[in-house]
């Protein structure tokens, strides 16, 4: 090799060495910066599947010390709560029975596993559900949302009749069925942007109304809706012609998936989003969310049973069983156990509800002799009656459901007076069973769960 060529090779080698050293230095600097960088809050989301009054899922940028997060974070006003989870995902769970009367301020603090301190983050969170109702107006009926100050905000135009109301379980919309012409129903969805969690106190507000979308319309004889806590919506419609029944699921991202099912009634989605309860001619079938593709045989519960209420996401439910001797019983179903009878009698069962774990079950009974009378029972999971009360002069409206808001422990239903001229939304305290009737004339009323997620603390994700 000539001296010139040797010199050129040496130069290249030197250049390569310098480049490698430079890269190594960059890597070292980057490593040292990352080592010293404090942990960050990545996302906070309202969790609707919970055993307590309310829950928040909190995600950090790295593995955190749970004990430190629990000790240093605080809720204002203070509510009994616990922190669960591990690594970078934690859940803040407010104890069952906690009553939330105002928005919560949450100050998040704590150390990561290396002892680096999370810069304090303050969030505002209102886990209380909103009341949505079909309000009677002079020209017809209108879907409205009740603000926290008691005023009402319209969510639809005035329709001739609104037959069903189904809030999405993630709080991001309300589906409803209108009936403006004979045999012509329309299924509509008012999309909403929840504002129940924010990093600014003043931005905490009722859901912001979005687009109104028509999901089905035309010559329809019936339409039925059901939603789960993920925000998926099941739509069942059928017309006059044989075989015109259609059933599909609208996913959270608005995709439609048709279901090919033979059913004997209204399908209900399980609250946790893992399946659906389908009435069959022999009882109730539990199917997965993908019954066409999943080869699993359905789980069946035989007998003349009706699904009355789900106990949130715990997998428990309350069923009504009709006996051949015209008696009726209320059963609590716990996964893996035979149904547990909590009430048996001859009265009509108008509506039921249960708390997250099925430990409190509310039953509205109707006795027609000697006079028509409705009674609300509060029973525990073993069937002991904890409380009972009558509603003198008021009756549960036909088709009204009993809806629970775990954050405030209040039941919501619709009641009518003796001659049916007054029809009011009723708020019932879940413990004392004291009730309050709201002013406007309503047809239907349901709780719209609070929802929302803060991602990188810059925007509310839809």
């Amino acid at each position: 090799m000539s001296p010139k060529g040797f010199g050129s090779s040496m130069g290249k080698l030197r250049l390569l060495s310098v480049a490698l050293m430079g890269l190594g230095l960059v890597a070292l600097v980057q490593q040292q910066i990352l080592l010293r960088r404090p942990p960050r809050l990545r996302s906070v989301a309202i969790q609707s599947i919970r055993s307590g009054a309310a829950a928040l899922d909190v995600r950090f940028s790295r593995t955190m010390n749970r004990k430190s997060v629990a000790e240093n974070s605080r809720l204002v006003p203070h509510q009994p709560h616990q922190w669960f989870g591990q690594q970078d995902r934690f859940r803040l769970l407010l104890d069952p029975g906690v009553l939330i009367r105002s928005p919560q301020k949450l100050v998040l603090a704590g150390d990561d596993q290396r002892g680096l301190v999370l810069p304090n983050r303050t969030l505002w969170w209102d886990p209380r559900s909103y009341l949505v109702a079909v309000v009677v107006e002079e020209e017809g009926e209108q879907l409205k949302l009740r603000r926290k100050d008691g005023s009402w905000s319209p969510l639809s135009s005035i329709e001739q009749r609104i037959l069903q109301l189904e809030p999405l379980g993630n709080g991001e919309g309300v589906a409803f069925v209108t009936d403006n012409d004979p045999f012509k129903l329309e299924v509509l969805l008012r999309q909403l942007t929840p504002r129940a969690i924010s990093d600014q106190a003043q931005e905490l507000s009722e859901p912001f109304p979005g687009a109104l979308q028509s999901l089905a319309s035309g010559s329809l004889l019936f339409a039925h809706l059901s939603s789960n806590q993920r925000g998926e919506l099941l739509v069942q419609v059928g017309g006059i012609e044989a075989g015109s029944d259609r059933t599909w699921i609208r996913s959270v991202n608005a995709k439609r998936r048709d279901l090919n099912l033979e059913v004997a009634g209204a399908i209900r989605l399980l609250p946790d989003g893992t399946g659906m309860v389908v009435p069959s001619y022999d009882g109730l079938d539990l199917l997965s969310m993908n019954p066409d593709r999943n080869g699993n045989a359905p789980q069946s519960l035989p007998g003349s049973r009706e699904l009355k209420s789900f106990c949130s996401g715990s997998g428990r439910a309350v069923l009504l069983r009709n006996w051949p001797d015209y008696r009726r019983s209320i059963e609590l179903v716990i996964p893996g156990q035979p149904p547990r009878q909590v009430w048996l009698g001859e009265e009509g069962v108008m509506a039921t509800a249960c708390d997250n774990r099925g430990e409190n079950i509310w039953i509205v009974l109707r006795d027609a002799s000697p006079t028509l009378r409705d009674e609300l029972l509060l029973v525990d999971s073993s069937g002991s009656v904890l409380k009972r009360r009558h509603f003198p002069g008021w009756y549960l409206a036909s088709g009204a459901v009993l809806d629970v808001d775990p954050a405030t422990n209040r039941l919501l239903t619709v009641m009518t007076d003796g001659d049916g001229s007054k029809r009011r939304a009723a708020l019932i305290d879940g413990s004392s069973l004291e009730f309050e009737l709201l002013k406007p004339q309503v047809v239907l009323a349901r709780w719209l769960p609070s929802g929302g997620e803060l991602d990188e603390f810059s925007k509310v994700r839809r």
């Binding site: 749970r66 969310m289 996401g313």
Partner: protein, 200 residues
């Protein structure tokens, strides 16, 4: 055939191993055929050592201690191939239970559910033995333990690596001030190691 590969590798990768084995055998046969023409003859010693090692592995197959392996691994589970908890509680495998408890860390939600699981006894230093499974993406090298705390009855003597089948109930207990899910066994039965002990 003897299911030894199942101890080391996810079943999905078994065809890859089989194909690689066939390719290597073909290459070996080609090399053997052309050996007389090679300038540098094959060293008999290296051949002998290779054959001896192969025979030793066949005669004394590896018997890895899952407990020792699991005790030294991080517990960050890989994503489940299909996250569906539609299964009734008593049909969930141990790994499905662990994934569910991590995705829904709310012990009271699961209290009272029936449990029917099987796994090996995982003994971590200074801790109560757990019932565990190893989850793998590929092979033992990336194995991650998924363990459930068990409320062992007073007369139980769980030994590390022992395979057990447990039927019982999911309960809650407060440990170090934190509410956690613990399996309360109704029956504990010793079982042979399953043919495919690793879970995806």
């Amino acid at each position: 055939m003897s299911a030894r590969l199942d101890l080391l590798l996810n079943a999905v990768f078994h065809p890859v191993v089989a194909i690689a084995g066939v390719v290597l055998m073909v290459l070996g046969a080609i090399q053997l055929r052309s050996a007389p023409r090679l300038k540098t003859p094959l060293t008999p010693l290296s051949w002998l050592v290779s054959v001896a090692v192969a025979l030793l592995v066949l005669l004394f197959p590896p018997s890895p201690s899952f407990s020792d392996l699991a005790a030294n691994r991080s517990e960050i589970l890989p994503e489940a191939p299909r996250l569906s908890f539609f299964l009734p509680p008593e049909q969930r495998t141990l790994t499905e239970w662990v994934r569910l408890l991590r995705s829904q860390p709310d012990p009271d939600l699961h209290a009272g559910d029936p449990v029917r699981i099987s796994g090996f006894v995982l003994q971590r230093p200074g801790m109560q033995p757990q019932l565990a499974r190893l989850t793998v993406r590929c092979c033992l090298a990336d194995a991650t333990p998924a363990g459930l705390p068990i409320e062992w009855p007073a007369n139980a003597d769980p030994k590390p690596d022992e395979w057990l089948s447990i039927e019982g109930t999911m309960t809650t207990q407060t440990k170090d001030g934190l509410l956690i899910n613990v399996v309360k066994p109704r029956t504990i039965q010793s079982i042979p190691r399953p043919e495919r002990p690793l879970e995806p």
